[in-house]
């Protein structure tokens, strides 16, 4: 099949269109149908995406399965996959059926909700596979629309405020992104990413308002890209929307946001900064490394005092995402391999943890730590699964988090030793935060009356837990699954950067 990628991208959107057109009514049957259609569509997407893997050549660092079609207005639709995008595509298609399954108890305007999730999946897959600036922009910024709709409609009393806030946070970055992309297209006379990689952008130092900017136009463009990506990642100080948003939206939407949406920023950094703007990246990398460290410690410390489970996870998620940027901007093979691994691992782990919180919410209708305590006795399976998820988040060996953490830290230590030390300390704080949450929710005596009859996971929840747990352990034992696929592409991404890098007197 020569349009396998497009099929993967648009299956969810087509399912959404079918649901929107043909499914009417809001009775139990209609809600059930909506969920089943969504589940089948996302599962099909996963199965189709497996075919990409089967035929993928991991030794080739370039793009494969490239499709190119002319769109009206002189635009081009171009998609393709390399090792880095493949990792994220597989993560997306693997998680989405589980997200739908985790949202099974969502009974408020279910049809609209699953349509939003399906649209979101298309947007995410499009973002990860796009090989054209315009296509990337449409998908990446378009992913905000379903998110804002979800926030506005299902986000509770202040949902609309949060939705607008999300938009305002994204707006400055997105506007600058457009400007930078336009400048890029203007200079290279193309919007094709493959062509842009070979194009040399001007890196002569230039003077802006009396300030000497080394790396010149490249630095400015890289800065514009990063501003947009930083608000998604999120990097400090553009992170404040996260905990607000996660705490409001339904569990399924929070899972997608924390596990997949935030990856757009990190993916964009790898796709655009390194190969296209290497000189600009050299200038910005140290700043971004230190911002990552600040983000990690800031978010982990804030997580320590949260009493709302979703907010706590949001902060922990931000902290663990900061490892990704730390690895990426360490600019060496281990750092970037670790970062990509962490993207995959973080995706699985944070959605698993949110699923755990969702399970509790379905039973006690609360996100408050104080509403729980001592449920280990009543919910042993839940307690076991959640413990494993937390271990994975903290990077205990045998789980997926370990290879990610280890490689990231080895990478960071080679480039910025102090940053690596501080990042590890941040991880210790996040460990304390997550384990104290676990302690207060799961451990302790079972005192609260309403929890004495709380039930353990049902079959559906067990299935989702099992799928996530198997993935976590599988990646933990066979990390080569990801690093072998990404290795060649990371080398390719780094090749341009290493030429641009000035000879430094750092380690070695």
């Amino acid at each position: 099949m020569d349009n396998l990628l497009s099929i993967t991208i648009f299956i969810p959107a087509i399912a959404a269109a079918i649901l929107g057109t043909f499914l009417s009514g809001d009775d139990a049957e209609a809600r059930g149908n909506a969920k089943w259609v969504a589940f089948i569509a996302t599962s099909m997407t996963f199965i189709v995406s497996l075919f990409i893997v089967f035929e993928f050549d991991p030794g080739d660092g370039g793009f494969q399965y490239v499709e190119e079609k002319d769109w009206p207005l002189g635009l081009t639709y171009k998609v393709g996959v390399d090792g880095i995008s493949l990792a994220l595509v597989m993560l997306t298609t693997f998680l989405m059926p589980l997200v739908i399954a985790a949202s099974w108890k969502h009974e408020d305007r279910t049809k609209g909700f699953v349509i939003a999730l399906l649209c979101l999946e298309t947007m995410l897959l499009g973002t990860f596979l796009a090989l054209d600036l315009v296509v990337f922009f449409v998908f990446a910024e378009g992913a905000l629309i379903p998110l804002m709709v979800v926030l506005g409609i299902w986000g509770g009393d202040n949902g609309r405020v949060s939705a607008l806030r999300l938009m305002f946070t994204a707006l400055p970055g997105a506007s600058l992104l457009v400007v930078a992309m336009a400048a890029m297209a203007f200079d290279a006379q193309t919007t094709d990413i493959e062509a842009l990689i070979t194009h040399q952008f001007n890196a002569e130092p230039l003077s802006l308002l009396g300030v000497e900017v080394s790396g010149g136009a490249q630095t400015l463009m890289a800065l514009a890209f990063m501003l947009s990506f930083a608000s998604k990642l999120p990097l400090w100080p553009m992170h404040a929307w996260v905990q607000e948003t996660y705490a409001r939206v339904p569990t399924g939407a929070a899972m997608v946001m924390a596990a997949l949406f935030v990856k757009i920023g990190a993916y964009g950094a790898l796709r655009f900064l390194y190969p296209i703007l290497p000189e600009g990246t050299v200038v910005l990398a140290p700043i971004l490394v230190w911002l990552s460290v600040i983000t990690l410690i800031y978010a982990a410390t804030a997580a320590l005092v949260q009493t709302n489970l979703m907010r706590l996870l949001a902060y922990a998620g931000v902290a663990h995402m900061a490892l990704v940027t730390l690895g990426i901007f360490s600019a060496n093979q281990q750092g970037i391999d670790g970062a990509i691994f962490q993207m995959v691992s973080h995706g699985v782990v944070i959605s698993a943890l949110m699923m755990s919180v969702g399970v509790l919410y379905d039973r006690a209708n609360s996100h408050d730590v104080k509403a729980f305590g001592g449920i280990a006795t009543r919910m042993p399976v839940f307690a076991f699964g959640t413990m494993m998820f937390i271990f994975a988040g903290l990077g205990v060996p045998g789980t997926s988090g370990f290879a990610a953490l280890f490689l990231t830290i080895v990478g960071a230590f080679q480039a910025y030793a102090l940053a690596a030390v501080l990042a590890m300390l941040g991880m210790v704080i996040s460990a304390a935060a997550l384990l104290s949450m676990y302690k207060r929710v799961v451990f302790g005596p079972l005192i609260k009356q309403n929890l004495k009859s709380i039930s353990d996971l049902d079959r559906r929840e067990k299935a989702v837990f099992a799928a996530l747990l198997v993935m976590i352990l599988y990646l933990g034992l066979f990390p080569g699954l990801v690093t072998d696929v990404t290795g060649a592409s990371v080398e390719a991404v780094l090749a341009g950067y290493e030429q641009a890098e000035p000879t430094t007197d750092e380690v070695q």
Partner: protein, 631 residues
């Protein structure tokens, strides 16, 4: 065979933890215990037949990234063969003991199945320790140490209904996390140095490369070794990172025995394993000696003043481990025939046996842990009392110059003390005092618990029943192991040529320990009122020692509390106001202004419209830029 030894405990853990509903409570316990005994027997066989040639048994390709390539493999050499024997046999006996000990546990209601979980943790912990001792590269060291630390967390949190157990569990995670900083970065440093994580490559590079690259003005070898030392300090509960161990005693005794005896050994093992690295890192080695000596002295002092018997035992473990660190730092761990090769097995057996004996005592005393309420139990538990005396006797000779009380061979101790004197005379004197206080601490525990008159409530004392036979058997087997080990080592070391040291140097430690023993006899057997008088006259010092020089309170004051304040500030002021203010003020105003006009149901429509406007705006900007001609 080594693969079977490695995975038998894992199988036991899985059987106990996952299938106990099928194979029943007792089935789970015996499955885990049986497999552990099986692994122990196999490792004895392996050790006995070991020909001395190092070999690697490949298990699995693991982490690969660029030039970093670390497989999982069992490294079988004299060191790991010995450690496998220690870990599996002690763990097997602790399992056996636990079958008796866990018949009841006050923390859990009758009828709850808490035992399979406990046995699964124990077996999994052993599996993790085996991964550590058979490690073939740095990554496996990280693996073993981290997984066993995770299991220690779960074991400490086992009685999770208790607040103190939960707090102790998190504390252990935090301190192990701090150690992990060192371990991860030490591994990273060695990777930079040698472009490999395998021990073979690392040892080869460090042995011929005298000029290590500089790192922030320091030799990378020194930096890496020091970082590894930090993790060893955390795992081995050495001063500064020691405070988790006394708290960790919240767990049931079989587990606290394994933690104090086996897990604490892991830090020293890491340094032992990397001794070729430490051999060319004088700075890191010196630091190892300093840390070890400080711990040996201070922790022994703390141990002398604890009223909680398990805390006393924990501090005693830290102190004894301090001696091992001193030996390692002085370079006495270069091969298995050397001092460390004898100290570690001895340490493990002594600590575990002591813990298991005390477990029997506490069980008899209705799970009380207060030494002040024990006493006189030798009439009720003669076997336990006898075994305790045996442990104390062996421990008295441990790390001591001459054959103190005739138990431990002279050659080893003598070398340690003469090396100490050669490097720093003050170190020699610190070790003498540390040995003295250590000996006092252990005899204090023994005398207060099983000798003298009973201080327990009469009804409790009368109700003391028989210790379950299986527990006594387990500890007795351990005692036999200990004795045969001592006899074997005495012979081995007697064959070594003695070094020529001045006479007073070999006598001084003997006097210190002998004197301490006599003081303990005087304090706790002859004049039991004396310690109380002394305590009253030195109440300030006593209180300070009892609280470990207020180390925990200090950490709380300067670390935990400020961190929480900072966290509040970050989330309330930072994210609540500063970083979200510009956005939320605008959004709130927009929504408030238009909410009268727009019914809430159409919120989605509003948002879609907002999004349209947003993208329209972007389109306009981009159009402007694209059509803009700078010429």
């Amino acid at each position: 065979m080594e693969t079977i030894i490695l995975f038998a405990p894992l199988l036991g853990a899985l059987l106990a933890g996952l299938t106990w509903r099928v194979i029943t409570d007792a089935g789970a316990q015996w499955a885990a215990t049986g497999l552990m005994i099986f692994a122990a027997l196999l490792s004895w066989a392996l050790w006995a037949n070991f020909d001395g040639d190092m070999r690697q048994v490949y298990l699995l390709d693991w982490v690969r990234s660029g030039t970093l390539d670390a497989a999982l493999a069992v490294r079988l050499d004299a060191t790991s063969a010995l450690m496998m024997v220690i870990v599996t046999s002690i763990s097997a006996l602790a399992h056996l003991y636990a079958i008796g000990f866990m018949e009841r546990d006050k923390a859990f209601d009758e009828g709850l199945s808490f035992r399979p979980r406990f046995f699964a943790y124990l077996s999994l912990f052993t599996f993790a320790m085996l991964l550590l001792v058979t490690a073939d590269n740095m990554l496996q060291l990280v693996l073993g140490l981290n997984v066993s630390a995770a299991m220690v967390y779960l074991l400490i949190a086992f009685r999770h209904h208790y607040k103190s157990a939960n707090a102790a569990a998190i504390k252990s995670v935090v301190i192990m996390g701090l150690g992990n900083v060192g371990l991860f970065l030490g591994a990273a440093g060695l990777f930079i140095l040698t472009d490999s994580l395998a021990f073979d490559d690392i040892f080869e590079t460090v042995s011929d490369g005298t000029s290590a690259p500089l790192f922030a003005g320091l030799s990378l070898i020194e930096v890496s070794a020091t970082l590894v030392l930090v993790s060893a300090m955390a795992a081995s509960a050495q001063i500064v990172l020691h405070s988790w161990l006394p708290d960790a005693m919240e767990t049931p005794t079989p587990a606290s025995a394994l933690i104090a005896g086996i897990f604490v050994m892991s830090g020293a093992f890491v340094i032992w394993r990397l001794s070729p690295l430490f051999a060319i890192a004088p700075g890191a080695s010196g630091l190892t000696v300093g840390v070890g000596a400080a711990t040996a002295l201070l922790a022994a002092l703390f141990a002398c003043t604890q009223t909680d018997v398990k805390r006393a035992m924990a501090y005693f473990a830290s102190a004894q481990m301090g001696f091992v660190f001193v030996s390692l730092g002085l370079g006495l761990g270069q091969d298995t025939g050397d001092i460390v090769g004898m100290q570690l097995p001895l340490f493990a057996v002594v600590q575990v046996m002591l813990a298991l004996c005390l477990g029997a005592v506490m069980r008899a005393m209705d799970d009380n842990r207060d030494l002040r309420t024990f006493g006189g139990l030798r009439q009720k538990l003669p076997a336990v009392a006898l075994l305790m005396v045996l442990v104390a006797l062996v421990a008295t000779g441990f790390g001591v110059s001459q054959a103190a009380l005739g138990v431990i061979a002279p050659a080893t101790g003598q070398r340690l003390y003469s090396m100490a004197f050669a490097s720093q005379p003050v170190l020699f004197w610190i070790l003498c005092f540390a040995a003295g206080f250590g000996v006092f601490a252990i005899w204090r525990i023994v005398f207060l618990s099983v000798f003298g008159a009973s201080r327990a409530r009469q009804d409790v004392f009368d109700a003391v029943g028989k210790t379950p036979l299986i527990m006594v058997v387990a500890v007795t087997v351990m005692g036999v192991m200990l004795l045969s080990f001592v006899v074997w080592k005495v012979n081995a070391f007697a064959a070594l040529p003695g070094s020529s040291t001045p006479g007073w140097m070999s006598v001084a430690p003997l006097i210190a320990t002998g004197l301490s023993f006599l003081v303990a006899v005087w304090f706790y057997l002859l004049q039991p009122g004396l310690p109380k008088t002394l305590k009253a006259s030195l109440s300030g010092l006593h209180l300070a020692l009892q609280n470990g020089f207020y180390f925990d309170a200090l950490c709380n004051r300067i670390l935990t509390a400020p961190l929480r304040t900072l966290g509040e500030a970050f989330s309330e002021t930072g994210d609540g106001r500063v970083f979200s203010a510009p956005f939320s003020a605008l959004s709130t105003r927009l929504v408030v202004t238009y909410s009268d006009i727009i019914d809430r149901r159409f919120g989605g429509v509003l948002l879609s419209a907002g999004a349209l406007v947003f993208f329209g705006l972007l389109a306009v900007i981009s159009w402007t830029v694209i059509s803009w001609d700078p010429a």
